[in-house]
Symmetry: C2
Subunit: 206 residues, 2 copies
């Protein structure tokens, strides 16, 4: 499996990402990662002292990228609805790359809320421009229809994230019904999310 033209550290990170994504922090075995990387288990510890550190290395970067991606939401040069559309696109594409991220975050947060806050606060710089606040302002200023921002945010995140969180369930459901849920459906998914956003945020349809 090892790609000889890469250095070992990069190979490990890549393999770890693959395995962690597939099996989660606790499901993944160091041996699995070593096999995937085509190296020995001990080398993992040589490069990254322990499992947790390796995990952080993989997901710390991903989280940072996520928040960076999502800064679009505070770009005041665009209409809010366009920002939300872009936000949903980036969210889905991010999750397509890190399908285990949501469920991982959920587990982490629920098991150690305090720790999570520390880590995320270190990454997020400006809480002022969260999607929630942008929505609230949009409603107040009359740029958006009168919606409940919290419910909308919940709905939007649900539509984007749950398909990845619950992929195993859907594979099971679809399997039993002769239908397939594959990556090709991400486009269809996004389309339905965009429909929802227009339905909720366009003033024209009122």
């Amino acid at each position: 499996m090892k790609l000889k033209d890469q250095n070992t550290e990069a190979t490990i990170l890549e393999s770890a990402k693959l395995i962690f994504m597939e099996k989660g922090l606790y499901g993944a075995r160091m041996q699995d990662i070593a096999n995937q990387a085509g190296i020995n288990k001990a080398l993992l510890h040589y490069y990254f002292r322990n499992k947790e550190r390796l995990f952080d290395e993989v997901f710390g970067g991903a989280l940072a990228r996520y928040f960076q991606n999502m800064e679009i939401i505070s770009d005041e040069s665009l209409p809010i609805i366009d920002r939300v559309l872009t936000y949903s696109n980036r969210f889905v594409y991010f999750l397509a790359e890190y399908p285990q991220m949501s469920i991982f975050l959920i587990k982490e947060i629920s098991s150690n809320q305090a720790l999570f806050h520390l880590k995320v606060q270190g990454i997020k710089k400006d809480k002022k421009y969260s999607l929630l606040n942008v929505l609230k302002e949009g409603v107040e200023k009359g740029e958006l229809p009168v919606i409940d921002p919290v419910v909308f945010l919940m709905n939007l995140h649900s539509l984007c994230a749950y398909p990845f969180v619950a992929a195993p369930i859907f594979h099971a459901i679809c399997q039993g019904s002769g239908v397939q849920w594959t990556d090709a459906n991400h486009e269809k998914l996004l389309q339905s999310i965009h429909e929802f956003i227009h339905f909720k945020l366009s003033k024209s349809h009122l």
Copy 2:
């Protein structure tokens, strides 16, 4: 912790439900369950040969109730849209009672897909009348607008289940923004889901 007025078996089941819900099959330790029940670890094995069997005992019942609840979907005396509305209500109320059920199922399925299939097939009797098949038929017969049943099913489940799955995340998000997400919001949530169902399934709005 032990309730002396109950027999040991019931106490174990109760404790197991609590612990399994909180930590999942693999996160839960037999020791945790024993502590919760105020008894010894060995007794768990005495009553329920092993961990998996105990687990089945706890969740078999809940799952069975769920599928029973959801049979509404095959009641052909009602218009499909009404069945879907009722389906979403029951789904949300079920999850309000077992908020950890989704995430629990997801974790279990992803860690052991084969096992899951066996168990669910044992409960579900008639796969013919799944929501997915009802939707497909509805579209074919012209009772519904031309939608993609798989995407709709995905969207619907997302809207219903993710709020429970991701409750920890939402508490964190809302906390940072001076908003609260509480049980009182279940009604608001259902309302927005119903809006979505009407939006997608009503022929009138076309």
